[in-house]
Symmetry: C2
Subunit: 140 residues, 2 copies
DNA sequence: GCAAGCTCGTTTGCACACAAACAAGATCGA
DNA sequence: TCGATCTTGTTTGTGTGCAAACGAGCTTGC
């Protein structure tokens, strides 16, 4: 008796595919919207949707942990797209909100951001795109 | 006349979904194989498949740029899983190869790595898994 | 009313990931 | 043959990401 080494094809593994598709997506996004990154845009989008939020709350809404959202918010503050203020009620809370410049940049880039998604999915048919989105949603 | 702000649903964007699914996958991988990271495992897998490779060549085979693969190789060397040697023919080239420990760790973890892929795709049926892999492959 | 436990934000340390710029070796064409 | 060009590896700077540990503020149960 012996155990054969099982075959392992890196190129067919879900993790490797996810990494490669993400690379392509980031490259498309960066070409279309060079001013900010995908995570920064996600933060702007959620602030626009939900209004001012605590920093950690915003992190949860955008799937970033506390350490990560802090870095993202810091860079957005540095770029003048977002501002922070202490919560008068809860002494721990740091409320993050869009500045006028942030709201304007977000509004101006929505169409480009939607185009990024379309371009990323360009190799697929309409039905295939919907299928992929649906399958990925279930792996969350 | 005016232009309505188009709707932008972050949760439905391909980039955001990719990030979230990747997070879940990395978490599953890290729980199953705590010794090394996904990228390090990818490097070991390609070295096992292709034999010793130049550092940049290995980077291309695993979809990492020159700066990234250097960091990965450095950490694998530090962990004793890989070794580097100057190429006698090409004075620029740095040949990377598996050590015995690296080859052994890789062989021992293949089954676990395959299980990671299975676990990541667990919410999907067999047919859906194949469909997802196929769709993602076309977005490379 | 108060102690235990939770949440908020912060910091540090590590590991990708890419852009840009660089030095040195290899190659290929005129 | 020799100069332009390409390739190989390196470094620096910036931006995610996560784990772990921390202090300070809030809340809940008893």
């Amino acid at each position: 008796m012996h155990t054969d080494t099982p075959a392992y094809s890196l190129d067919d593994q879900i993790g490797y595919l996810l990494r490669r598709v993400t690379q392509r997506h980031l490259s498309i996004f960066n070409a279309a919207i060079p001013e900010i990154t995908t995570t920064q845009f996600a933060a702007l989008a959620k602030l626009a949707e939900l209004g001012p939020q605590g920093q950690n709350t915003l992190g949860r809404a955008t799937s970033m942990d506390a350490a990560t959202i802090k870095g993202v918010v810091d860079r957005l503050v540095r770029g003048g797209l977002v501002q922070t203020a202490p919560d008068p009620v809860d002494g721990r809370r740091l409320t993050v909100s869009l500045t006028d410049a942030g709201a304007q940049l977000y509004a101006e880039r929505i169409a480009a951001a939607l185009q990024v998604s379309t371009d990323t999915l360009a190799p697929l048919s309409e039905a295939e795109r919907a299928c992929l989105i649906q399958l990925l949603s279930r792996l969350t």
